[in-house]
Amino acid sequence: MMATGKRSAVLHIAILVAGLVAPFVFPGHSVQFAVFWIMVLFALTWDAMGGQMGYNSLGNITFFGLGMYMCTIVQIAIVYNVGEYTAANGAIDVHFTSPQYFTGLGLGLVVAAIGSTIVAAILSWVLFGIRGPYFAIGTLGVAVAAAELTAAWNWVGGGQGIAMPVFPGGPGMRERFFYFACFVAAVLCYLFFRWLYSTRFCLAVNAIRDDEDKAEAMGLHTRRYKMVAWAAAAFFLGISGALFGNMTGFVEPLETAYPTLTFGIFMIAMTLLGGKGTLWGPIIGATVFYVMREVTWTYLLGWQYIALGILIIVNVVFFQQGILGWVKARRPEWFGVKIEEKSGAQPSAAAPARKAVNA
């Protein structure tokens, strides 16, 4: 989509190689790189709903938090009593052996992914009847409610949070392990959505975005498509949450698990910045946003979030098409769109009369 044939293959291999060698070249920045891949995953999953389907969710972060908590509880529950573990809050001497830890993590990831998907399917039954701004506000409500309820639930540690089991390897191993886990998750997410968008599914969800009533009248089972799109997003978000919780080593409802105002907004900002409704837009957006964030965040001295808010406003008001959309309007031939010059017209006068034909 981004580039055709050979160039596309070169690009993919370059990204793959860069991803594989990054933690060895810059071992001190493994965590930042891991978070970068999570950001890519965020943007890709948000775009499946917000960009391709036109259902703008403000609460996709719910599944991130759900996955995180599900994985954490499974990891603890296979060895200890969860209630005692969280009540002790690190006071009792806990120790996870290497097999215990990895069984827990593996099982936790599976539970997180499937659990989030199931919750998304149930929620979709509730939320997808509501459209447009009501949907956005409703999903925001879901995220806020999830955070508040988790904070009030003492069995899972309440507002104090849970200290995660300690990784049984050396300190360098831990970062590298989670870096590759996040990398693999992001790549799988990319491949999955790339495949999904190449099927009939893409046309169906785009039809829902353009006019849902007409799509329904044409015989599309719009609800089923909406549910699949959301469940797929929730699947990957659940995995990313599980990995992120283990990476930070501490799970807490408001700041880590359901950060509506940080990660929850980042995923929207990144997608819009890159250009929504495309496969590569979210990835480009995530890259630009994350690099900018990492470089400037510490120099902004408390003004970061104001800058974030202004970025969102400027983005939606003045730069709706995003980076990829902007490039596409300038250089359509890079995207396999052929330009047919109107015969007989002057090149300068022909510019507005250009006719784009999809190759």
Partner: protein, 300 residues
Amino acid sequence: MFDNLQILTTAPVFNLQLLLNGISIAAIFALIAYGLGLVWGVTSVKNLSQGDMVMMGGYLAYLLHNHGVHPIVAIVPVAIIMFAFGWIIYRLIIKRVIELDLFTSLLATFGLAIVIQQALNLAFGPDVRTIKSGFGNYSFFDGTVDITQIRLIAIGLCIALAIAMVLFLRFSRMGQAIRATAQDPRAARVLGVDTDTVYALTFSLNAAICGAAGVLIAMVWVIAPFYGTAYSIRAFVIVTASGLGNLPGVIFIALALGVIEQYSGFILGAQFQQATIVLLLLAILIFRQLALVRHRRALQ
């Protein structure tokens, strides 16, 4: 968890206390929701920064209070400042998103909400604050039930502001123009209404209402930079449940919400107060959806 339920049954007067608290907060929220509904109906912009504008009004009053201005008096300058703020925001942002799709306006105002709350956080710190109004309180039933005078004043001011708004919309020339634009902007434009000014005025009026409500909230309840989102959600609950342009509905839902919130906060504990509101929002949305499904089935 349900220990407090016993208090309610053994000491029934305590119910009165909860009702009174609920009503005084509900009056202010009815005002905020009315402003939200006004902008929603006229410009079709869903203002997610509504709660943050309220907070901004509260903090402006706090600032004036620190310079010796009594908060009741501060309502006037705060409303004027917020009106100007609303006008600037309209010119900079809202004007450009009115014609675009609905989610754009939602996101733009959400960005605005982030900017306002972070700016307040930088300027005043994240602490919860309140303004002492210096009024006494009335006690009933040997001191078991008491209501501060400021709450009564707040209810009175809310009613006065609401009446003023209704009269303005119904009888003034500009009010007629606003209502005409809400009904059909294109037809209004054809008939010579300057819709751009109408939009700007509506948005600025809403900002002024938010400012006044913020001053009252700061006296009656608490203000904190990050409470804005919760306040916005409350306003959305009321507007969504009552429908647009339905003032009796807004008042009724606001009262119900205020009382439910007080009860759930008292019975389940304060940590569930926020969650109750949000779950109510979801319940209302689901209810409306079911109504829609019935409607569609009837059409089929």
